[in-house]
Symmetry: C2
Subunit: 178 residues, 2 copies
């Protein structure tokens, strides 16, 4: 049964790369949030939903990733920018391909900035029906050091937000791995 | 298409009575959370979901509701208890009837106690896939006085939680009305 655009539920899923494995691998918590959305919400009603994948790239302030690079001209920075973009696109490709396989409409895009601020800004702009965020489910002690994107968005995003914590059997030995 | 029990998504919706109108009227935020669940999540996939309605009755510590009552024997307290229960059941009837009309499976029950503690306890016991809570969407100033069931549950409930704030056009003049 075809579903008219007006009655399609638009779910924004914020996705990021694995902290340890890096691009193009999706973080465990991003994949968890995505799979939860498919298994528990979308199910067989593939025409009832549209998934909106937002990937926020954090500007690389300490330059750690680029220690071996030499920047001699503005062109070098441009190539860096396009390399970052290419990596982000490969990350999004994972989610878009999966949606295509199961027949769920989707869109995906990349933004740069502070993830929590950008996510809330994009929610205001796009006005999804629901924002789904993966979370490492860290305790209060670890949370101080790794930031709290989901906590911020639950408070400030102007749409309903659901946070999907990792199951304990998905948690890697190093809790910072994501 | 029949959906097997294992693939049914169980959504717990915590519901309460209107602060101003009292029983059997559901609060605006409860109705909002329920309607959001139907319109944005369940949609036409009525066989894919089961709704679990929990109503937590707060023990009446100040006795305001019963100022004109006289309690002369233990029997009087029993009748009070059964009256409370009857009011709670009429509240749940609203939600169960609506589910019946649209063909969504549901269950409903009443518990007594501190809503935030009881909701988290029932989540541990029932293990729903999602907990949906209505919220008055009050600012930080008002929040201090009226409690923060949804904030507590977002942090402590052992399942994904989504809070549905009232739309501004649903907010009555008295922000405490619910």
């Amino acid at each position: 049964m075809a579903t008219s655009e007006a009655s399609v539920t638009r779910i924004m899923v914020a996705v990021n790369e694995s902290t340890i494995k890096g691009y193009p691998h999706a973080s465990i918590s991003s994949k968890g949030a995505f799979e939860w959305t498919l298994q528990k919400i979308v199910m067989s009603n593939t025409s009832g939903f549209k998934l909106l994948f937002l990937h926020v790239q954090v500007p690389d302030e300490d330059g750690f990733d680029d220690m071996d690079s030499i920047y001699a001209s503005p062109e070098d920075f441009k190539s860096l920018k396009s390399r970052d973009r290419a990596r982000g696109l490969r990350l999004l490709e994972f989610f878009v391909t999966r949606c295509h396989e199961i027949g769920v409409a989707c869109e995906a895009w990349i933004k740069k900035g502070d993830p929590k601020e950008v996510i809330c800004h994009e929610v205001r702009r796009i006005q999804p029906d629901l924002l789904v965020l993966g979370s490492r489910g860290l305790g209060p002690f670890q949370r101080v050091f790794v930031g709290t994107v989901s906590e911020f968005c639950v408070k400030h995003a102007e749409c309903p937000v659901v946070t999907i914590k990792r199951r304990s059997d998905e948690t890697p030995q190093d809790p910072v791995d994501d």
